[in-house]
Point group: C2
Chain length 393, copies 2
Amino acid sequence: MLGFTYYTPTKVVFGPYAELKTGELVAEQGAKKVLIHYGSERVKRTGLIAQIEKSLDELGIGYVELGGVVPNPRLSKVYEGIELCRKEGVDFLLAVGGGSVADSAKAIGYGLANEGDVWDFFDLKRKPAGAYPVGVVLTISATGSEMSNSTVITNEDGWLKRSCNTDYIRPRFAVLNPTLTMTLPEYQTMSGCTDIMMHTLERYLNNGGAMDLTDEIAEGLLRTVMRNALILLDEPENYDARAEIMWAGSLSHNGLTGCGTDGGDWACHRLEHEVGGMFDVAHGAGLAAIWGTWARYVYKNNPARFAKLAVNVLGVTPCDDDEATALAGIGAMEEFFRSIHMPVSLTELGVHPTDEEYKELAHKAAVASPTGTLGSVMKLQEADMEAIFRAAQ
Amino acid sequence: MLGFTYYTPTKVVFGPYAELKTGELVAEQGAKKVLIHYGSERVKRTGLIAQIEKSLDELGIGYVELGGVVPNPRLSKVYEGIELCRKEGVDFLLAVGGGSVADSAKAIGYGLANEGDVWDFFDLKRKPAGAYPVGVVLTISATGSEMSNSTVITNEDGWLKRSCNTDYIRPRFAVLNPTLTMTLPEYQTMSGCTDIMMHTLERYLNNGGAMDLTDEIAEGLLRTVMRNALILLDEPENYDARAEIMWAGSLSHNGLTGCGTDGGDWACHRLEHEVGGMFDVAHGAGLAAIWGTWARYVYKNNPARFAKLAVNVLGVTPCDDDEATALAGIGAMEEFFRSIHMPVSLTELGVHPTDEEYKELAHKAAVASPTGTLGSVMKLQEADMEAIFRAAQ
């Protein structure tokens, strides 16, 4: 077991009509002028933006809108946001949408609080010294950005998808009304469930340090997401199931499921970032397409850990040795992904890299890491990354 | 499932030598002059206070000491602290010790930020409008005060033990080094484990609302505490077991194990407060002495919930009906308490109230509640409270 810092200052307001409290939550932060940042027009059509603006009006808080954030949010939109906020004197960033919108708002927050090019922080050239405050009204359960210290932005110049993690950008508040996620199409819902599971799996499948309590929480969270994802296949408007998934999404990426560990593996995420950057796929689906191949490539470095996952989460009966149990668990996880209509290969994801593109994916993933390697269960070199991409075909 | 607010802003620094970071954590809060508040001289003898003072010295932060906090911390000490802090210009309260010291510091924090008698806030006469900031260096795992919104103080005038809960007093940081708890005697360690379990049990055993994810976390936490308490019986200096218990203590009372529920029952805690106030017993031991009697008194109002606890936490094989399973679970929990040398009756606790004292215990518990009743599984009237106290004999 290793030492850790746990810091989750985000105030969560969870339940029906939670969005009506947005104005009050912004006022608590002492904000005077808010950027309302959003993605698709869906949040306008449903009246959500209007409700939020009413709650700001009632408290005399000004605002300006900026929509058009896309999945795998773009650096150009971040620049646009920074410029708009400077011109309008914005002092608080309110993301209304899913993880892409939250990540875009966080990146704008970095840009406003620091001189120079904000991409420097994603490109590992400099470290940010602060960020403008961010709040989130969540409409998609997936990335956990509403409580996390992370933002992931895609630079169109080279299609690089990079993250920048600091406590400065942990949101001040998160408004979580499960009802707001009910109209999401099945593919987005299940892709979100996969991303949520993966945030805990990345931490759980590590190679240094373990804590009973963290494992219990991680395993319970994974079981909960799996049970409720299956419910949502048949009943997409089941409030309780939407709520379980939504809260799991926040807890899965706020640090709770990694306490006492080495921080986790994260190779799958980093490999998927390259696929997402180049081919613009749904992040959760991209993770499902890679995970099984990655797992079979690395499990022999820590078969006991994979076996524990198999038994405690996937209901596998223990085999004679951990390696066999681990393999059965990896298969069972892929079966689960299939059952919620997620791809378990790049082909099923609809991505068909050329020979050159396989090399490019691996090279980009390697150079994005300061050490040139990825992972904890197994330290992957660039050649390993390429082998995994190719085997995931 | 019900809506909820979840707010745990406390920055936790966990692991060996975590106390060396105290100065840095205080500096992050912008504090200039610190009250170092503590209980027994143990924290001075071990050199802990000296280490903390060194870490403050290095950053040029001033401090003044106030020791002598006792279990079931007294209002007179709180008054003394308020006066000292005003005289010395203290702007930050650092508790070094267990829950009693943290609670005393929190109450001083209320007193410093508000005019008038601080007891008014415990006596339900007024609500506090703020509090001075508090940080905790924990040496006893039990109350969870290091992350909670609660402080419990005993007024020697009438021996009333009362709480005052607001987000103002959630500690800014908590320094958790499991090694610091290793020298605790077995009785205090096991009393702490019981208190930790009870903070989750009070939330789990409710009568309105449930959330799969919260149940998974609660059940996992309870199993973890039970496993590791048994390890500590034989190996009190087992670092990992101390660490599991310590982290469970914080998570058990920061709100996590109650999300989506009606907030929980809390009758056992309120009944124990009266026993603690009048007879000055260890809080966790007092809870163990009452819990089984309370559970048998109320379980028929929600047998399914008690049965779930029995099966998922206590390993009871399900019986033909929930009531039988529930009863088997209550017995199994009492067996567990016995196995860690905790009392399961007032007699075993060493408390022998007179006929008048039983009435007084119940009356005090009833009038301390704004509604005159206690509990969620069953709304207890004063007569019920008296019956439980008598049956717990």
